[in-house]
């Protein structure tokens, strides 16, 4: 991840802290987001899904991977 994007998140967290006063400290949250973003990048590099993969692919996968049914075992 580039430094500019990291800096943007840290600035966002700092700004939110100023607005929310004593309610919360978002420095840990910013660190957590940065870590998860890096992890997402690594996973994308590892798996390299084809361009255009979208949530409907997930529904398709669930349906395709379901076991075949025997009619007698189906409710109703």
């Amino acid at each position: 991840m580039d430094d500019q994007r990291k800096q943007t998140i840290v600035q966002w967290a700092t700004l939110a802290n100023q607005f929310s006063g004593d309610i919360l400290d978002l420095s840990d949250s910013a660190a957590s987001v940065l870590k998860t973003m890096d992890l997402t990048s690594e996973a994308m590099a590892l798996i390299d899904p084809p361009f255009g993969t979208e949530p409907s692919e997930f529904v398709r996968a669930l349906n395709e991977l379901a076991p075949h049914r025997e009619a007698s075992k189906i409710n109703g």
Binding site: S20, S29, V33, L62, L65, A66
Partner: protein, 474 residues
């Protein structure tokens, strides 16, 4: 028998109503009495609707006397997590923000339970907006564990887990976005199943993260869960993302023999943070399956599964921040601190990373199913990697340092099945040295809840873990 109604399972309760050995009114009054007596000790009850419930039970009894049985849950009193909308009832979601929310429609899951004959008697406490797995709630108070009230109940269906665990009620609906059915089930010593994503309609259920949210039951036994899940599963035109896959007859499949069936266990990844004590209980549970003729098959878990715990968090907090965007801007002071921080974390996540996390799901799912279910019928692994901790030692406001790592470890074996959408159940399998229950998980192919409930049911017939009752609530 009246004073010991609470020792019955949901299935046994349904049978004695059906046979006329007890009335729905007697059982409903007994459940209300136990919720009123013990609910405050556990802080598990949001509201009881005694008058309405008794009237409904009386109607069930009249109907049965006239030979009309509505369905397999006829006359059975149930109570649910305070996130299912009922027209005319308040629905607070464990929050201050929604303390005056009165939905004007009823959720599909609640309607389906009523169609199956269940009597709805109470709303049960939950983690604020279902965002948390320990059971802590700064707004409504922490729900307590019936086996030891110093310990966590697990969350976010915390009131459901505690109420079923203490035998105040025989079954309850919960929701699971990152373990919120399975954690309270495991902590409180009951059975809980997160069905396949889209198996049960979410219409009228408070949303947390639409890509992950699942509605499902917590109850004493797998048979009880089969009865509830059978009543609520299936396509719903009011939730266009609910699945049209056929629904198995879960109860009819419970007694299928395990002889020759293959149960996969992980060779890598899932046991990494697991303590020796938990591991020994896992081994003992596998011995029970072996004794029933099942074959235990070690499988190698694809590397891609290692990212799913954290990516599930990313999707949850990002989608959650979207739902809460207006309240986060206008009423931040009305959230509990942990809830606010978790939603604000989601608000920081750029849309491109969120989209990437979603796009990885189908690939991770296909890799995992191929690696595991080409070799086995169900997958067995731990639930929590350590014994149930105390409320104090997991209080975010007192232990901020290392809290993120603790939550990541707690979710290590659980959240991957939210990310992949696979059905997964938490099955009690003993007690750790601190006297708290522990569980293993069974995971199945998409929409194969029947195989999970079948294996869990036969395991529960061979063991007595789900028959035990916390001494304080016996």
């Amino acid at each position: 028998m009246g004073s010991s109604f609470h020792t019955l399972t949901l299935a046994e309760t349904a049978r004695i109503i059906n046979s006329g050995d007890a009335s729905s009114e007697e059982l409903t009054r007994h459940a209300i009495d136990r919720l009123e007596t013990h609910g405050p000790t556990l802080n598990c009850v949001a509201a009881i609707y005694a008058e309405e419930a008794i009237a409904e039970a009386q109607e069930s009894d009249r109907s049965r006397m006239n030979g009309v049985i509505k369905g397999p849950l006829h006359g059975v009193p149930l109570a649910h997590k305070d996130m299912f909308y009922r027209a005319g009832w308040k629905c607070e979601n464990g929050s201050k923000i929604r303390q005056d929310f009165h939905p004007d429609y009823t959720s599909t899951a609640i309607i389906k339970l009523a169609d199956a004959g269940a009597v709805d008697i109470a709303r049960l406490n939950m983690v604020e907006f279902a965002l948390g797995i320990t059971g802590h709630n700064e707004i409504t108070g922490h729900v307590r564990n019936p086996w030891n009230t110093d310990h966590i109940s697990g969350g976010s269906s915390s009131g459901s887990g505690a109420a079923v665990g203490a035998r105040l009620i025989t079954g309850s609906l919960g929701s699971d976005t990152g373990g919120s059915i399975r954690f309270p089930a495991a902590c409180c010593g009951v059975t809980g199943i997160k069905p396949t994503w889209s198996r049960v309609s979410r219409y009228g259920a408070m949303p947390l993260a639409h890509s992950l949210d699942c509605v499902g039951p917590l109850a004493r036994t797998a048979e009880d869960c089969a009865l509830i899940l059978g009543a609520i599963a299936g396509y719903d035109e009011r939730d266009q993302r609910s699945s049209r896959q056929p629904v198995d007859d879960y109860v009819a499949n419970l007694e299928n023999s395990l002889n020759g069936r293959r149960i996969a266990v992980p060779e890598n990844l899932f046991y990494d943070p697991v303590t020796d004590e938990i591991r020994s209980h896992m081994d003992a549970s596998l011995d029970v399956f072996r004794s029933m003729g099942a074959e235990i098959v070690p499988v190698s878990i694809p590397e891609s599964m290692s990212v799913t715990n954290l990516l599930n968090n990313l999707i949850t907090s990002t989608e959650g921040a979207g739902f809460h965007s207006r309240w986060l801007r206008e009423r931040p002071e009305d959230y509990g601190t942990p809830t606010l921080i978790r939603f604000m974390t989601g608000a920081m996540c750029p849309a491109d990373r969120y989209q990437e996390a979603l796009s990885l799901r189908s690939h991770v799912l296909r890799e995992f199913v191929t690696a595991v279910f080409d070799k086995a019928d169900v997958f067995h692994l731990p639930m929590m990697p350590f014994p149930v901790p105390t409320i104090d030692e997991t209080d975010f406001t007192k232990n901020t340092e290392g809290f993120g790592a603790f939550i990541a470890a707690m979710g290590h074996c659980v959240r991957p099945f939210n990310f992949t959408g696979l059905p997964a159940a938490s099955i009690p399998c003993g007690f750790t040295q601190n006297g708290l229950p522990l569980s293993f998980q069974l995971v199945g192919r998409p929409f194969d809840e029947a195989s999970i409930l079948n294996a869990a049911h036969l395991y529960q017939k061979e063991t007595d873990w789900v028959k035990r009752i916390p001494a304080q609530f016996a």
